[in-house]
C-alpha cells in the first residue's frame, strides 16, 4: 500500500526533507513501523507528535492505504 509521510518544523530539519512517499508491503503496519522505515531504524524523539489523516494518534495506530502520516514536535502557536 502507498502512504504519504510528512515532517514539520524541527522534524523536517532533522529528516532533511518535508515528506516521503512510502510503499509498504504486508498487513497491519503501525505508525511506529512507518517511522522505522523512513528513519532507518532511529528511535523517535519522546516528545514527537503523530497525526494520521490530520488527527492526533499514537505509534500503535494501524495505517491504511492512502493514509497521510505526519511527525512533528510539540506545537507552539498562538
Amino acid at each position: 500500500m502507498a502512504i504519504n509521510v510528512k515532517y514539520f518544523a524541527s522534524m523536517r530539519d532533522r529528516m532533511g526533507r518535508g515528506e516521503d512517499a512510502v510503499t509498504l508491503e504486508g498487513e497491519s503496519m503501525t505508525v511506529a513501523d512507518v517511522w522505522k522505515k523512513v528513519s532507518n531504524g532511529e528511535s523517535l524523539p519522546g516528545s514527537t507528535l503523530v497525526a494520521v489523516n490530520m488527527e492526533y494518534t499514537d505509534g500503535d495506530s494501524v495505517v491504511k492505504d492512502g493514509d497521510e502520516i505526519a511527525f512533528f514536535p510539540p506545537v507552539t502557536g498562538g
Binding site: 510528512k6 514539520f8 518544523a9 524541527s10 530539519d13 505508525v31 511506529a32 517511522w35 523517535l44 519522546g46 516528545s47 514527537t48 507528535l49 503523530v50 497525526a51 490530520m54 492526533y56 494518534t57 499514537d58 505509534g59 505526519a70 512533528f72 514536535p73 510539540p74 506545537v75 507552539t76 502557536g77 498562538g78
Partner: protein, 157 residues
C-alpha cells in the same frame, strides 16, 4: 464561526468589525477578544523576527474543532479566529480570537477555551531569529502548564 490562517499581516480590529458587520445586530450583549502579539523577548533572548510554520489543512481543522467545542459548551452567538503564519515581526498581531454572546460570562469562558486549546492542539511551530542572528525552534509555549500533560497522552511510536 470563521477561521482564517493567513500569511498577510492583519489588523485585528478591522477583522473583528468586518465579521461583526455580518452578525444579526442588536442580539450580542458583548464580545470578548484575545489578541496575541509577538514579543521582542522570549526565554531570556531578544528576538528580532520569527517564522511561524503550520500544517495546512490540519491547522484549520483543529482550530475549527476547538471553536465548535466552545460553541457546544457555552451559549455563544459566534466566534472568529485569525492566525498569522510565515514571517512575523515584533509587535505584529499573531492571533485574534473573538467570541460574541448575549451574556459576557459565556464569551469570557469560550474565548479563553478557544485560545487555550488552539495553543495546545493546532499545529503551528515558531522559529525565532535572535538579535545575534541565530535561528532556533521554540520548543514549548512556556505559559501553558497543560501542554506537557496533553503531549504525554499523545506521545507516540
Amino acid at each position: 464561526m470563521k477561521v482564517v490562517v493567513q500569511e498577510q499581516p492583519f489588523d485585528p480590529w478591522k477583522a473583528l468589525t468586518d465579521h461583526e458587520a455580518t452578525l444579526e445586530s442588536g442580539k450580542a450583549g458583548g464580545s470578548v477578544s484575545f489578541v496575541g502579539t509577538m514579543r521582542d523577548f522570549n526565554d531570556g533572548h531578544s528576538v528580532s523576527a520569527m517564522r511561524l510554520d503550520h500544517y495546512p489543512g490540519m491547522t484549520e481543522k483543529h482550530i475549527e474543532q476547538v471553536c465548535q467545542e466552545a460553541a457546544d459548551k457555552w451559549d455563544i452567538l459566534d466566534s472568529l479566529v485569525v492566525h498569522r503564519v510565515g514571517e512575523i515581526l515584533p509587535n505584529d498581531p499573531i492571533v485574534l480570537v473573538v467570541v460574541w454572546s448575549a451574556h459576557r460570562a459565556n464569551a469570557f469562558d469560550a474565548c479563553r477555551y478557544i485560545i487555550n486549546y488552539l495553543k495546545e492542539r493546532a499545529p503551528f511551530w515558531k522559529c525565532e531569529t535572535t538579535t545575534q542572528g541565530a535561528n532556533r525552534w521554540v520548543e514549548h509555549n512556556s505559559e501553558d502548564p497543560g501542554v506537557a500533560a496533553a503531549e504525554a497522552v499523545r506521545r507516540s511510536a
